[in-house]
Amino acid sequence: MAELKLPVGKEPIRELTVGDYLELSGLMITGRDAAHKWLVEGFRKEVAPFLDGTVIYHCGPVVRRNDDGSHDFVAAGPTTSIREEPYQAEVIGRYGLRGCIGKGGMGPKTLAGLGEHGAVYLHAIGGAAQVLARCVKRVDRVFMLEEFGVPEALWVIDVERFPVMVTMDSHGGSLHDEVEKQSKRRLAELIGV
């Protein structure tokens, strides 16, 4: 099992293929529905340095605010990624992201974007909010908390050995495409259509 330090360049990312199991360490950022729409509606220069060379985590965490104003992640598994399909490739290209983390996989537009920009789709285990929150060592800062609320804000987090699986790579490989094709074939056999 390989450890991958963030931020990272394109070269190590190009070496990754579907089925690789990785542990991520370093700074990453959360962002989901509201964040992706907002990131493509303009160039958000205040957030851009925290996207460049790292990955965006599709996650709406449960967060505790401490008395000193700092925050801790209480629960932090991935959310379903396909909702970001209209935006993801553009967000990756515009901000220099090396990929995203989510669950359920994404579609052809994102897959093409991964190839074009040298990025990967990383799958975390959906619902594993405790296992994954324990990998978040520190909340560095947060953007758009007031406007978007806790689940939709962009949280910059420092993670240690955050476990993910490569399920879409920069060479056109997608585990999700394979599984979907196979399951559709089996359904057709079962019901004779």
Binding site: A34, G60, V74, A76, G126, G127, Q130, L175, Q182
Partner: protein
């Protein structure tokens, strides 16, 4: 307080249990699923992480999943109990549970995009009330996450694409299609709550109510019991697997209920519940004595 009973406190504990303690029958179904997967496969790894997570959540009284979902609640109450006060008590409990991080602030103003910040909002939580003959109150709830909710769907039969006519074989066909459409997006392996019949509203309500049934409970209607078992087996044969990684376990359970229908309508409604099949229940006696339900 409603009468002499402090409902809010009990409801907060009910929510905490639902959010942090996976029911034993669900954990057992997950363990069985793990055994079916090949050693060292991505599917088995997914199950290992899931089981580790279930243990951590219980030990630390912390949410199993960060999407603590919409609380959907069914309350049976004796005659004379104020449902207005009960609803208010449940809403208060949701706000308190959110303050204690048992729930995520999950109510967003649809127009402005502003999060209410306290978990309660217009239509959230959703509480169904029914009066019964008994003297005690029974409260059952599920926490239904958004990823799985997005996989819910409603078919109207006949459905030509799937050769699904207005009979139980037609139901089987569309339900299997729903599993294929969901892939891993609803956090497979999932539990299906299905309603055959009803209208577009009652169908969804009943399909969610089916999710209150324990996974090992067998449908008292033998035809439905057979259909549940068959869809479970065939669904697992689709090979979608945990998280959609491919594998032997795509479903943990299938629960099918029936409502009568209009002659012109034949709806089949599917509610998809993620592997984190969170439900809890409580009985509250007239005197305020609390019994937790499994």
């Amino acid at each position: 307080m409603v009468g002499s009973v402090n409902y809010v406190e009990t409801f907060v504990e009910l929510i905490r249990r639902a959010s942090t303690e996976l029911p034993a029958d669900v954990t057992s179904a997950i363990e069985k699923g793990r055994k079916r997967e090949q050693g060292g496969s991505l599917a088995q790894k997914a199950f290992d992480t899931i089981l580790e997570n279930v243990g951590l959540a219980r030990d630390h009284s912390a949410p199993i999943c960060q999407d603590t979902g919409t609380p959907v609640v069914w309350i049976h109450h004796p005659r004379g109990v104020s449902t207005r006060q009960l609803k208010q008590a449940f809403e208060d409990a949701v706000r308190q549970a959110t303050g204690r991080q048992c729930l995520r602030p999950n109510a967003v103003d649809t127009i402005t995009g502003k999060n209410t910040g306290n978990g309660a909002g217009r239509g959230i939580p959703y509480v169904h009330f029914e009066e019964w003959e008994a003297d005690h109150l029974e409260v059952r709830m599920i926490l239904k996450g958004g990823g799985s909710e997005n996989c819910g769907t409603q078919y109207k039969l006949p459905e030509g694409r799937l050769k699904a006519g207005r009979d139980l074989d037609g139901v089987r066909r569309v339900v299997l299609d729903a599993v294929v459409q969901a892939q891993g997006k609803g956090c497979a392996p999932g539990v299906l709550g299905v309603c055959v019949g009803g209208d577009r509203v009652s169908g969804f309500a009943e399909s969610k109510r089916q999710l209150l049934r324990p996974l090992d409970e067998i449908n008292p209607d033998p035809q439905l019991a057979e259909l549940e078992a068959r869809v479970l087996e065939e669904g697992n044969g689709l090979g979608i697997g945990p998280m959609g990684f491919g594998g032997e376990t795509t479903l943990l359970g299938v629960k099918i209920g029936v409502l009568d229908r209009l002659p012109a309508c034949y709806f089949v409604t599917v509610s998809y519940m993620c592997w984190a099949d969170r439900r809890a229940g409580v009985c509250i006696s007239e005197g305020g004595e609390v019994t937790w339900l499994s």
